[in-house]
Structure formats: C-alpha cells, structure tokens
C-alpha cells in the first residue's frame, strides 16, 4: 500500500545541510498495524506527514496504492488523501467552534457528499462510538479521551483505507489510552491499515510491526 524508496528530507542552514530523514526505505502492506517509535527529533512525525502527503520530501520515490506520489501535483495529492487517508492527532485538533456532530461531518462536506447521506453516515459512526448523547456538545465540553474519540470518528467517517495517528494517546491518561488502543486494534481487524507514531512500548505492542527511527534513519 505504501512504499517509500530512498526518501531524503533536509533543510539548509547556512552552508550546513541538516537531514530530517535519510534514505528511508519502507513498505507497508494493506491490513498492517505499524508503530513508528524513536526518541524526540528522530523524524517520526516528519515521516508520518510525508506518508500522509501533508509534507513533501527532497529526494526519493513514494508509491501509494500504485500512484507515484512524488510525481503528483498538489491538487491530485489532496484528492488522493482525501479519499484514502484519515488523520488522528495528539492534540485532537477538533474545531472549537463546531459541535461534535459538525466536526465529524466536516470531511464529508469537503467530499461533496449529499446532506442526507452525511446525516446517515454521521449517525452511524456516533452510534458505533457510543457518543450519540454528546453530538451537540462543543469540544471544550468533553474530556480528553472523549475528544480523541471524536477525532478518530472524524478520521474514519469517510471510510479511509489508511489511518495515520500521531501520538494519539499522548495527551490521555493510561486508561483512556488503553481504550483508544483497543479501538485501533478493532479497526485494524476490520481491515483499516494503521500507522501510528508513539513513545510508548505498551502502545506499540498493539501493532503488528514496529519501526524504530533514530536521527532520521530506520534502525536495523
């Protein structure tokens, strides 16, 4: 599903070139649940952003579902990830001015899905995550765990094939974190490919594979 070949990313400061990612080669198949681990500054988030097409790279090739991402224009990239990728963030990144319902609905709006269909889809996922009672609340009225639940619901609403999560439990207590991981495992069993960045060995164990990054390179 995802195949990275010799990916480099750097920035220039003066005459020095600092590498964020160095010769990353990676292949992730459909149905996998991969955890990316590594110390701060090792390039985990950068890698995730590149996979999610939010960020570019300076050298290398990236195949996503048989599309050569490095050859695509911005518009095509955005159409591609809109269709196949969902994001979950450490800080949830819900829109404060929108209710739970509206937050979840937003990606569907951007995909030009009809209003009646949207209603059905949102209702479905609210039910599934058991947050129907919260649908008219604003994010600030929810606990961290609930907010992340909404974040995940929003990421899944458009039925993505790939879920990218950047430290999804980083702001949560251990019990809430465990619940989220449990949910990820279930989703993975249902066929969603998941790539998560995490600090926690325990969370990494939920995944089927762990990739260790150090100073922009894959260890081992």
């Amino acid at each position: 599903m995802v195949e990275l070949k010799h990916i480099y990313k750097w920035y220039n400061s003066g005459s020095n070139r600092t590498f964020l990612l160095k010769d990353i080669n990676l292949r992730i198949n459909e149905g996998e649940f991969v955890s990316i681990m590594g110390p701060s500054g090792s390039g985990k988030s950068t890698l995730l952003n590149i996979i999610g097409m939010l960020d570019g790279f300076d050298e290398g090739e990236y195949q996503f579902l048989h599309e050569s991402v490095h050859k695509l224009k911005d518009k095509q990239k955005s159409a591609l990830y809109k269709q196949y990728i969902g994001f979950v963030f450490q800080a949830y990144h819900l829109i404060d001015e929108l209710t739970v319902y509206e937050n979840i609905e937003t990606p569907l709006i951007y995909q030009d899905i009809k209003s009646s269909e949207r209603k059905a889809m949102v209702a479905d996922i609210l039910d599934r995550f058991q947050i129907v009672g919260k649908k008219d609340l604003f994010p600030t009225q929810l606990s961290g765990g609930q907010q992340q639940l909404v974040g995940i619901a929003r990421a899944l609403i458009a039925k993505p094939k790939l879920l990218l999560a950047d430290e999804p439990t980083g702001n949560l207590n251990s019990k809430q974190g465990e619940e989220i991981m449990q949910l990820f495992r279930e989703l993975n069993r249902e066929g969603v490919t998941i790539i998560q960045v995490t600090h926690s060995e325990k969370n990494a164990e939920y995944g089927s594979r762990v990739i260790h990054l150090l100073d922009g390179m894959v260890e081992k």
Binding site: N49, L54, S78, F87, I95, T106, Q111
Partner: protein, 799 residues
C-alpha cells in the same frame, strides 16, 4: 457548505466578543455614514427631476461683464416672452416671475410672506398639481391667488378654501383681498417654486396683478426677473442663446447690451450648478469624506481580520488535513466577512434611523427616512454588504486560505503574523486620514470664527432687524422715521435706524459713479446703501473723517467708505470730504460728507467693495428697522419692542432677526461644512481608535507569554506599557506628519475662495496630532495595564 460557513462564522463572532463588537461597530459607523450621505446625494440629485418635460426646461441666467451690474439669477424682463413670440420654432413655453415680500393676513393672523407674481403658464408648464381648483383657470383673473398646501393649513387650518380670501398689502400701504383659486399640492423639490433658499415662495399671483405692487417686469431695463424657457423638442440651447443675445442687443440700452449675455442652464442640472456649483461642491466634499470614512472602516476590518489569523490557524490546518481545498477555505473566510458586513449593515440601518435627525440639522436638508424607499432599495444595502464584505475579506481570506497546513497545525505564525509592515502602514494611513479631517475641521472652525469675530468692522452684538411695511414715498419715509424715533426713545433701545440694507450682502443697487467733469469711462462701480443718519450709530461703524450725514438733512449728502476713497484715488479720508461725485446716468452732484472705515457688508468670500451711503429720504426706499438693544434682559427688551411695534404698526407682524442669525444665514454652507467636518473627524477618530483597541488587544493576547517572561526577568509595569506604546506612537507620528502637508494643501485651497481668510498656522496641526496621540496613548495604557500587572505565573502556565 454555506450553512456551515455561516454557523462557524457566527460562532467565532460570538466567541470573540470584543473583536466582533469593534469590527461591527467600526464598520457600522462607516456604513451608516455612507448610507446617510448617499441618501442625501440622491435627494439632492433628484431636485427638479419631477418637473414635466424636464429635458426641455432651461433656466435663463445672465452673465454680466461687470459683475456688479446684475445677478446671474435674473435677466431683463421681457426676454423670455419675446423669445416665445419671435422664435416659436425654438421656444415652446416660458415662465417669468417677480418676487416680492409683503404682509399677508387673515383676520388677526399676519405674516410677512414671499409672493411669486408671474406668468399664468406656471401651473401647466411644469406639471404642478392643484389639490383644489382648476389648473387652467386658477391664475387667469387679476387678484386671484394660488397658495401651497402648507400655507392653506397655516392660515385656514384646512385645504378646501377655494373662494376664501387672504388680505395682501401693497408697497404704498394699501391692502386688498385676494381670492384663492387654487391650492398647490406639495411639489417635489424644484427650482421653480424654490429657486434658492431665500425664495421658498408659497404664494402665486398672476402677472396681471403686478401693478398693484407698483412693479413692472415688461421693461427691458428691469434686469431682475427670474425666467424659465421650455424649448421645442430637439432644439439646441446654443441656438436659443444666440436668439436671446440678439434680442438683448436689439432692445436694451448700450450699457446693458454691451454687458449682458444671457445663457441657458438645463433645469436638470440647475440646482447642482447654481451659485457657483455650491451644491455640487458639497456633494463632492461629502462623498469624498464618506468614502474616506468607509475606507477607514474597511481597513480596520482587514487589519483586525489578519491580526486575528493566529487564532484561526489551527482550524485552517485541521480543515486542510480533512481535505479542505484552498478555494473552499477562501470561500469560508469570504462568507464570514460578508456575514460580518451584513451584520454591520443591519446595525448601520439602525444608526441611520438614529442619526438622521442630526444629519438633517447639520446639512439643513431633509434626508429621506428609511421607510420611504421602495422595498427594492433593500437590495442596495445587501449588495453593498456583499461588495464591501468581498473587498474587506479578500485579502485576509487569501492570506489565511493559503497557509501551509503543517505549520498552521503547529501554530507557527509564519508570514501571517509577521506582515507587520502592512498592518502598520494601514494603521498609519488611518491616523493620517483622521489627522487630516481633524485638523481641517479645526481650520474651518477658525475661519468661521473670523466671520463672526471682531474683524467684521461693525458691532453686531444686540442688534436686531425687522422688516417694515413698505410705503416708498416721501410721506412713507417720514412716517417710518417717526416710528424709528418712538423706538429710539424706549429705555431698552440704544440705537435705531431705518435702512434698505443690513449687512447681509443683499443691496439694492450698484451704480457707476464718477467725479463731475470726468469722462464716463472713468466711472467706478459702487454699491449703494440707503440708510438714515443713525445707521453708523446703530451698527457702530467707525467714522474716519467727516460726519455720517448732517442734520438738517441735505438731499445731496453722501457718505463713502475707505475703499471708495482709494478707488477714486484720493489721498486719504480727509481729502475726500467735500468732494463731489455724480451717478453716470445723470444725477445732480453729490457731496461727500463723511468716510466710514471699511466693514464687511457681504460675505468674506467677496472683497469689500467701494460703497456709497445715500439718505433714505433721497432714495425713498427702505426695508429694515435696525434696533440696538441695551445689554441686559434681552427677553424683556424684546417684549417691550413687540409691544411698541404693535402700537406703532398695527396689523404688521414683528418678525425680528438678530444680526448673529443674519450672519449665520450668509455662512450657512460654511457652518454646515464645519459641522460635517466635525462629525467626520469624530467618526474618523472613533474608527481609528477602534482599530487600535482591536490591534492592541490582539497584540496583548499574542504576547502574553512574552510579557510574563519579561516580568519574571524583572521588567516593571511601566516598561511593559512602554513596549506597546512605542509601537503605536511611532505609527501615529508618521501618520500625523504625512497628514500635515495634505491637510494644508486642501485647506489652503478651500481658503482661497475667501477674500478674507485666516493664515494657516502650525497650531491646528499640532492640536490635532497631539490630541490624537494623547487619546490613543491613554487607550493603550488602559488596555495594557491589565496585562502588565497580571501575575506572570498565570500567563506562563497556560501554555
């Protein structure tokens, strides 16, 4: 999608109450001002548009080579009539009228009214309607009278008054009943029933009655007749102008024909261009001010929106990762700004209703109420909101919509917050505008102080003038002089004088005078003033030499002013005493008995002209009784005057005017401009300050952490306040510096219209800039105080 945009726009408005309030208030003030001005302009542009066949209607105006020889407003009497008689191919119809003021009474109700005595074409040619009476016969019989609906109510309290009579006084004191044959429906504003502000005549009398007033407009040497022509369809006015010149050459004496060129002004433009385009200038000035104010409000909006961007960045990032396209985000922000402008417009409509009475009094016009506009006009504010919303929103929308998603997710300010240079120059520009308007307002009011100040050359304090009934004969003059003496004996009266002119710029005549024995080409045009010997006393005109007439009265005595001394080339005032002058078209020799210091008889727009005072006994025309009241209880004095008047002149209304009010009338436009400029500077300052409040508060929010850190490392409260002050004071200073030369240029040009003007000193600019600076600083200090005194632990913890 639009619905979600609206929802989120509405919610972020509510979340940021101060920001929204400032934004909406500032915009609303600007929009309300613009709407009011637009309504005013629309109203002014519509004058005369309701007249029948307005495209073919022309007002006859006169161009005089020697300007003092006649008025542009009027022309020689028979001109329009002869145009129709001799050039029927060119002229379809005409209307002329003679304006007089006389006493109209019904029972014990008596008022002085403007009467319009003119051709019987009046009603039909312009398409006026009668609510009572027959249009084709109403003005046929002598001593018939058509009055306005207003006047019908004033005298009768009702409008079904056909066949009733009103009593009107002639100029030799006789009175007669006039039969009412028509009641004029209130016409839309036009230059026929109201040719200028001092001629809102509401009594219309057929021309065949003119002899009752001892007047005649059918003479070619009567150059004071207001005239209108309706040309045949398709006739070029140039052709008609040629014909008019031809008639003037053929029929008038050489003095007039060599001087006078009549010309036509389309009625559709007349109101705008009359009196040197006064109305047009006012429209331009006010429109420019409105545009500036609106511009400032829009700038505020742009400024605040961009500064607020930081707050919205995370949202933008999220939306992008959720698949929002740049165009969709731009659409969202544009929708928001249109929403804000719409809200502001709704508030502005409220302000329109509230501020309309104030605008009416400032502009001296009736700005239409919101509710008289047809419903379709609702589209205008809506369109307006859309356009302004798009203009105001386009820049912030593109800046925000174009943000990089990862950076914005991380809350990195990137280019948005850093574009301080742009925001600074926008603020600077606002302050520049505010300073221009403010210092201009100061300069205008200084010039107006000059109009009313000591430099008038006479003492206007406690002088009232009242119009006397006319009886222009030797006996009549004697009678009013006896009445004058009755008043003079009252203890409340310090001086009393009978005259034709009061210092309001309106004088009866300008004549060509020369020294006897010199050629008539050496004649100099002088304005004549017909007064009695107490005039100088009453108005405290300082005498430079000689006496202000002699007692006993001598028919050949005259008094001149210093300008006349200079114009005739005499050494000094004393040198002029005893010299002789004669009027060009034959008169006996007149002997100069006195010289008065120059005083401002007319508006300070015009230079003081050489003037000659002649005795009312000789000229035998008079209009005013001027009374100088003893200072003290003015109300009681006026009551005593009223009592004396009723006893001396029964049946004549005592309608007095203080000299101050007379002067205010001369300077109506200047006073309006002053009030408009004052209002505009208030608004400009308000909007600029709103902008500063918004920016400072956002700035503080952004720098909360910085303030906390600074305090922890030992910064004092005042040093933190200074931090914010410094930023803005620099901008204000730059704006004010730029404003000075611009305001100077504009004001210098405005003042160039006045023969007597103030010198522009530095003080208005300094005052304006300092005031702006101080107000702004106070505001900033108040706002930053809270942030600067807050406990740094709290602000640092929040991250």
């Amino acid at each position: 999608m639009l619905k979600q945009y609206f929802i989120i726009g509405w919610r972020s408005l509510r979340k940021q109450k101060l920001f929204s309030l400032i934004n909406i208030l500032g915009l609303a003030a600007g929009i309300a001002f613009s709407l009011l001005i637009a309504a005013y302009v629309r109203e002014e542009l519509s004058v005369n548009s309701g007249l029948k066949n307005v495209g073919q209607l022309y007002k006859v105006e006169s161009k005089w080579k020697t300007e003092s020889m006649g008025l542009p407003l009027t022309s020689v009497g028979p001109l329009a009539r002869e145009m129709k008689r001799q050039f029927p191919d060119l002229v379809k119809n005409y209307y002329r009228w003679d304006g007089v003021t006389s006493t109209v009474s019904k029972g014990d109700k008596a008022f002085r009214e403007g009467l319009q005595i003119g051709d019987s074409t009046f009603l039909q040619m312009f398409g006026f309607n009668l609510i009572q009476g027959n249009i084709s016969t109403a003005l046929r019989e002598p001593f018939s009278l058509v009055i306005s609906e207003n006047m019908a109510r004033k005298y009768f309290g009702r409008t079904d008054i056909i066949g009733e009579t009103l009593n009107i006084e002639s100029f030799n004191g006789t009175r007669r009943d006039f039969q009412i044959t028509g009641v004029l429906a209130k016409p839309v504003r036009n230059s026929v029933t109201e040719v200028n502000s001092s001629n809102d005549n509401q009594f219309y009398i057929p021309l065949n009655t003119l002899s009752f007033f001892n007047r005649d407009i059918e003479r070619w040497n009567n150059q004071y007749v207001v005239q209108y022509l309706e040309l045949q369809p398709g006739t070029s006015p140039a052709l008609a102008e040629k014909a008019m010149k031809q008639l003037v050459t053929a029929n008038t004496i050489s003095d007039i024909s060599s001087n006078l060129t009549p010309y036509l002004v389309p009625m559709s433009d007349y109101y705008l261009v009359m009196e040197n385009g006064l109305v047009q200038k006012m429209i331009y000035t006010l429109s420019a001010i409105a545009l500036f104010i609106l511009g400032m409000a829009i700038i505020n909006f742009v400024n605040l929106s961009i500064s607020q961007a930081g707050r919205r960045m995370r949202e933008i990032g999220v939306r992008k990762t959720l698949g929002g396209k740049k165009s969709q985000l731009i659409g969202q922000f544009l929708t928001e700004s249109v929403l804000i402008v719409l809200l502001a417009t709704v508030v502005a409509l409220g302000l329109y209703i509230l501020a309309r009475p104030m605008f009416n009094s400032i502009l001296g016009k009736n700005i239409p109420s919101l509710f008289v506009f047809p419903v379709s006009y609702l589209a205008i504010p809506v369109m307006f909101a859309l356009v302004v919303g798009l203009i105001a929103g386009i820049y912030p929308a593109f800046v925000l919509g174009g943000l990089n998603s990862i950076n914005s997710l991380k809350g990195k300010l990137g280019t948005v917050g850093e574009n301080r240079w742009l925001r600074r120059s926008l603020i600077g520009f606002q302050f520049c505008l505010a300073a221009i308007v403010f210092s201009s307002a100061i300069i205008i009011s200084r010039q107006i102080e000059l109009f009313f100040g000591k430099d008038l050359g006479y003492d206007k304090e406690f002088v009232v003038s009242a119009q006397l009934p006319r009886d222009w004969s030797a006996a009549g003059v004697e009678k009013v002089e006896r009445i004058r003496d009755r008043f003079a004996r009252l203890p409340q009266v310090a001086g009393a004088s009978v005259s034709y002119e009061i210092p309001n710029g309106n004088n009866l005549n300008t004549v060509q005078m020369r020294q006897p024995g010199t050629d008539s080409v050496n004649a100099i045009s002088v304005t004549t003033l017909s007064t009695d010997q107490y005039y100088a006393d009453t108005y405290k005109l300082p005498l430079v030499a000689g006496k202000f007439f002699e007692t006993p009265y001598n028919a050949s005595d005259i008094v001149i002013n210093e300008k006349a001394v200079a114009a005739f080339g005499w050494k000094d005032a004393a040198d002029a005493i005893g010299r002789k002058l004669t009027v060009n078209q034959g008169s006996g020799d007149l002997i100069i008995k006195g010289v008065v210091r120059d005083f401002h008889f007319a508006s300070m727009q015009q230079p003081i002209e050489p003037s000659v005072f002649m005795n009312v006994r000789m000229i035998q025309v008079y209009r005013f009784l001027s009374l100088k009241i003893q200072p003290g209880n003015t109300a009681a004095s006026l009551a005593a005057l009223q009592k004396e008047w009723s006893a001396a002149l029964p049946g004549t209304p005592f309608e007095y005017t203080f000299m101050d009010d007379t002067l205010k009338k001369i300077y109506t436009n200047e006073i309006r401009l002053k009030q408009a400029a004052g209002l505009a500077s208030g608004l400009a300052i308000l909007i600029a300050l709103l902008g500063v409040v918004g920016l400072v508060s956002l700035n503080i929010q952004k720098r909360v952490k910085e303030i906390g850190i600074r305090k922890i490392v030992g910064a004092s409260v005042s040093s933190i306040i200074r931090l914010f002050l410094k930023d803005f004071l620099l901008i204000i200073t730059a704006g004010a510096l730029l404003a000075c030369p611009i305001a100077w240029l504009i004001m210098d040009q405005w003042l160039a219209d006045y023969a007597y003007r103030i010198r522009i000193s530095a003080s208005p600019f300094v005052t304006a800039s300092l005031a702006l600076g101080i107000i702004t600083s106070l505001l900033i200090v108040l706002q930053t105080m809270k942030a600067a005194t807050a406990n740094p632990v709290n602000s640092l913890r929040s991250e």
